[in-house]
């Protein structure tokens, strides 16, 4: 008995889906003048009011009522059928979505009507139930997505860059758009399989070391001709699951994404140039932890500063200076600590002893 009920349910389910009497269908009725094969002007206008909705609708059913059993009635019904067939072609109602029936019973809602048009409301959102699941890649990353999307996501390549050498190869600046220094936890390259366009965003879960549930910010990686740098920061979603710290990255496209946190280092270095020089650019670098920061050069080019820096012995600096004759001088790979205790000029003199003696070096300061 139970088996019979189950089979019955399975058989009736598609039938219900096709049931034009369900509430999802809208309807209107048309009347012909006596024995006419063409609709009157009024009725045709009424039909045209609905034509655009019919065009957009995913299912249209046109029921034409056959009112008698005589041969004359058959001819009349055939002509009316032909009229609606032509109408469907004229207004590009697809054969796949439009069906014309001939019925013999009167319509309950309008007993005098000759034609009933039923159509599914095109403005009503499609209700599709899709099952979600988690796919785990052998490399350890996971993805939350619809089960139907998994075959497309299996070919995704995710590469995590976190060693100083890899970050240095990217020439990645470790500051945000506001000039605050960042500690980079990782740069993740997501490459979806070729020609894959995901209709909705999916949530990649990437295991990373060093991240925490609080304080992590995710960025997209922008690039200009000289550097790459983090931009468009927003709070990163980090959760601990199965003993792993997972970065939950929402995306639907290939790209480079950065997860980073604001550094807690608070020192500011400020370097003044000696009289007769102007500073053109400056950079502070460190490989442990990885850091690559451009100096903020004052508008008058007489000083340059770095904010949120660690102890100066960990940092090397690089500066380009210019004298007023337009000669450029580079001070490369000098310890920030050493530079604070000596001066730009003593470094320049070591390299170029013929610098004018009357130049007076200003002492650099460390605030």
């Amino acid at each position: 008995m139970k088996i019979c009920i189950v089979i019955l349910c399975v058989l009736t389910a598609p039938a219900l889906a096709q049931d034009s009497g369900s509430s999802e269908y809208l309807s209107f009725y048309l009347r012909y003048d006596d024995r006419e094969t063409m609709l009157s002007e009024y009725e045709e206008g009424k039909l045209l009011d609905y034509v655009y909705d019919l065009f957009l609708s995913e299912s249209v059913i046109i029921d034409i009522r056959r009112s008698g059993s005589s041969f004359a009635q058959d001819a009349l019904t055939e002509q009316r059928y032909h009229y609606f067939s032509e109408l469907c072609k004229e207004y590009q109602l697809s054969e796949l979505t439009t069906k014309i029936n001939i019925v013999t019973t009167r319509f309950e809602e309008d007993a005098q009507a000759d034609v009933r048009v039923l159509y599914r409301d095109p403005t009503q959102a499609k209700k599709v139930v899709r099952r979600e699941g988690v796919f785990t890649h052998p490399d350890g990353w996971r993805v939350n997505c619809f089960l139907s999307d998994i075959p497309f996501l299996q070919g995704t390549q995710i590469h995590v860059m976190r060693t100083p050498e890899e970050l240095s190869k990217l020439n990645l600046l470790t500051v945000d758009e506001w000039g605050n220094r960042l500690e980079i936890f990782g740069v993740v390259s997501v490459t979806l399989a070729a020609d894959t366009v995901l209709p909705s965003r999916v949530k990649f879960q990437i295991p990373l070391h060093g991240i925490s549930e609080v304080g992590c910010v995710e960025y997209t990686l922008m690039s200009n001709a000289e550097n790459t740098f983090p931009s468009n920061g927003s709070k990163a979603s980090v959760k601990r699951e199965d003993g792993l710290m997972l970065w939950k990255l929402d995306t639907n496209r290939s790209g480079l994404y950065v997860i980073a946190g604001r550094t807690s280092d608070a020192q500011t270095y400020k370097f003044n140039v000696p009289e007769g020089f102007a500073i053109l650019s400056g950079r502070a670098m460190s490989m442990s932890p990885y850091m690559n920061v451009e100096a903020v050069v004052a508008g008058n080019q007489l000083s340059a500063s770095f904010r949120n820096m660690p102890a100066p012995e960990l940092v090397t600096c690089e500066f380009t200076l210019a004298d007023m004759q337009g000669n450029e001088y580079t001070i490369a790979a000098v310890s920030a600590k050493m530079l604070m205790h000596e001066s730009f000029l003593s470094f320049l003199r070591k390299r170029d002893p013929v610098l004018p003696e009357n130049l007076v070096a200003q002492k650099n300061t460390n605030k």
Partner: protein
């Protein structure tokens, strides 16, 4: 159909469209040196702006109206997209006018992110940013001298200021000037013909030329001792 062109701040080869289409617009980069020589970086209120990148576009205006060109800029480090303004050169007023409603939008090509804007008429365009500090620096000429036309270029700030008034002191609308700021002017000493001074720097090494700045009033006094 939108045509896409990428403008990079450091890209010297010019971005141009296919020459196979005779009516297609021609786009070339406008570098800072060209702006420094021929234009300025003033906005509609004649306040100096900081020049970030720019381009010139030539083409049929009617075709451009129908098919606007999407110009893409490389993003600039430490510059927020929201702070950037796309401006168009007004050759009559010699200022850059803000393009109303034309906001830069993020767009991607492959893995690269760009800032994009739609351009539908020919002209010179620049991506500018407001200066954080405002103020004025006076460059005072020696007695008996007056400038007829002057220009001050400060490359590190991306600023070009100019003036055309018959004046004895140049009011540069910037709070400080770098020692590498370049000053050019046409000036006249009393009873002498017009002379040209081009691209001299304000640096203190040219000790006979500019005197030390007056730190209180941001005023530099000029001496012609070194010109002899």
């Amino acid at each position: 159909m939108n045509i896409r062109i990428v403008i990079s701040a450091m890209m010297l080869p010019l971005a141009s469209l296919s020459v196979a289409q005779p009516n297609s617009p021609l786009v070339r980069e406008l570098d800072f040196e060209e702006v420094a020589q021929n234009y300025n970086t003033y906005n509609e209120k004649r306040e100096p702006m900081s020049y970030l990148a720019g381009f010139s576009m030539e083409g049929d205006i009617q075709l451009l109206k129908k098919n606007p060109v999407q110009v893409m800029f490389n993003p600039l480090a430490k510059v927020d997209r929201g702070d950037c303004v796309l401006m168009r050169w007004d050759p009559v007023m010699r200022v850059w006018d803000k393009l109303a409603g034309n906001q830069l939008k993020n767009t991607t090509e492959g893995r690269n992110l760009y800032w994009a804007a739609l351009i539908d008429s020919p002209g010179h365009y620049a991506l500018m940013k407001e200066l954080e500090k405002t103020g004025t620096t006076q460059l005072v000429l020696p007695s008996g001298c007056s400038a007829e036309e002057w220009r001050c270029v400060q490359q590190n700030m991306g600023v070009v200021c100019e003036g055309f008034a018959h004046t004895k002191s140049l009011s540069v609308p910037m709070p400080t000037l770098s020692p590498t700021a370049r000053i050019s002017m046409r000036y006249r000493k009393m009873g002498e013909p017009v002379q040209h001074l081009s691209d001299t720097v304000l640096g203190t090494l040219v000790s006979d030329f500019w005197k030390q700045p007056d730190a209180v009033n941001q005023t530099f006094e000029m001496s012609f001792a070194s010109l002899k």
